[in-house]
């Protein structure tokens, strides 16, 4: 067991963890932050995407011990049910989710990409989204939501 101290959504957590514990399981089981969803557990589906030290990562491909001292953002840190953040609002406005399983991963990947990428064309948005799988929407509504979020963000 190793002690890790990690800041998640501005709260500092200190926990004893097994070396082999995945960040995704640490967030869900040890910190009860179940907004981060676990899909394929081998980096393909993107459902478990979170932001670590400013960059989106697959939390199923990172060990909890690797995040000692890191700053982690998860979907719980975006908005609340009463006050969605602009990206969440765009997803709601454009019906960019049906079952919602993939949504936390899309939101966190898009949060990183909205900070960093121009996303001025649909082709760029589609390529940016290509690392996350959604089995309900056919992606059209997600592209619409991101395009709207980019418009509201303005140019970088």
């Amino acid at each position: 067991m190793t002690v890790v101290s990690v800041t998640v959504n501005r709260t500092v957590y200190r926990r004893d963890v097994e070396d082999r514990l995945l960040l995704s399981d640490f967030l869900r089981n040890d910190l009860s932050l179940t907004g981060t969803h676990v899909g394929c557990e081998h980096g393909v589906c993107g459902a478990c995407t979170v932001i670590v030290d400013g960059y989106s990562v697959r939390s199923c491909l990172l060990l909890a011990v690797q995040t000692d001292g890191a700053v982690v953002e998860t979907v719980e840190g975006l908005g609340t049910t009463e006050a969605l953040n602009p990206l969440q609002k765009a997803f709601q406005d454009h019906h960019a989710l049906q079952c919602g399983f993939c949504t936390p991963g899309f939101l966190m990947a898009c949060t990183d990409m909205l900070r960093r990428l121009p996303l001025t064309t649909d082709a760029e948005i589609r390529e940016a989204l290509s690392g996350n799988l959604c089995r309900c929407t056919g992606y059209e509504h997600i592209v619409n939501a991101v395009r709207d979020a980019v418009r509201k963000r303005g140019p970088l």
Partner: protein
């Protein structure tokens, strides 16, 4: 889908990392970006006694520009290679190739050197190392050796690396600024592993191709240099294209898998090569 129990060691510096490797009796794996290693641990395809994390070693994440080459450190992430101005200036074909490497979130973690060490036969960067005549510096607690990319890849996921060794840098020698290039890839979904890809550089002198390099991937157990096809194209022009493509189709050794048949891959690599060679010819000055 969870890793089996293992001991996690965060290396403090390079010497510490090499000591851990030397003492692990061959039962340690180096964790850099983890974008291929972690899935293998999750699937329990691998179960090393020691997981050696090099992410906390300072200074390994740099691309260093030298007089006649750039040196890529073992923690240079794909996102850095993809956007680095010196890479874009001297190796535009590598910048182009990077647009095909995985997806945004994977590029945030995955490393150039890690991709070479993983040696997936359908990955872009081993092919690019082969094309660019990369020199790979391999270190262990007892010394260093330099291995050229041509000698580095032995088979699918197999390289010349010994268990106690670590790749500590990759040198990419500059080519002339008049070099033309072409890169063509076909994948089922952008960013996924390719069915096949071709990378070409050449220069032109008096309407003849010189210094022709052609590398392919997805059509053999390792990325391959098409030396016979390079010779056919050398001191020739695009009139030789059909012969060059034929030489490539003869040289490759594609396999049938669930994504494509061997025959389809053989056909595809020729089509991609024709386009890449024409693009390289067109962009050479």
């Amino acid at each position: 889908m969870k890793p089996a129990a293992c001991e996690y060691v965060a290396a403090r510096d390079l010497d510490h990392a090499l000591q851990v490797l030397a003492q692990a009796g061959g039962d340690a794996k180096i964790l850099a970006g983890g974008q291929s290693l972690m899935p293998m641990l999750n699937f329990r395809l691998l179960n090393p006694a020691i997981l050696l994390d090099i992410n906390r070693i300072a200074g390994l994440d740099r691309i260093i520009v030298k007089r006649d080459m750039v040196t890529i450190g073992p923690l240079v992430r794909h996102r850095t290679t993809a956007t680095h101005p010196v890479i874009a200036k001297y190796f535009p074909i590598l910048t182009k190739a990077m647009t095909h490497v995985a997806h945004h979130t994977i590029r945030n973690r995955g490393t150039f050197v890690g991709s070479l060490c993983h040696a997936d036969p359908a990955a872009e960067l081993p092919m690019m190392a082969l094309l660019l005549n990369a020199e790979i510096e391999i270190s262990s607690a007892t010394g260093k050796r330099l291995v050229s990319a041509r000698d580095f890849f032995l088979g699918p996921l197999v390289t010349v690396l010994e268990p106690q060794e670590m790749v500590t840098s990759v040198d990419l020698p500059f080519t002339s600024s008049s070099t033309g290039w072409g890169f063509e890839e076909f994948a089922r979904r952008h960013g996924d592993y390719a069915l096949a890809a071709v990378a070409v550089t050449l220069s032109r002198r008096r309407n003849q191709a010189r210094h022709v390099r052609i590398a392919v991937m997805g059509v053999g157990e390792t990325p391959l240099r098409m030396t016979a096809a390079e010779e056919v194209m050398d001191r020739n022009n695009l009139d030789a294209l059909a012969d060059v493509v034929e030489a490539i189709r003869r040289a490759v050794k594609p396999a049938t898998d669930l994504h494509a048949s061997a025959e389809y891959r053989r056909h595809l690599v020729g089509v991609l090569a024709g386009r890449a060679i024409a693009a390289a010819w067109g962009s050479a000055q």
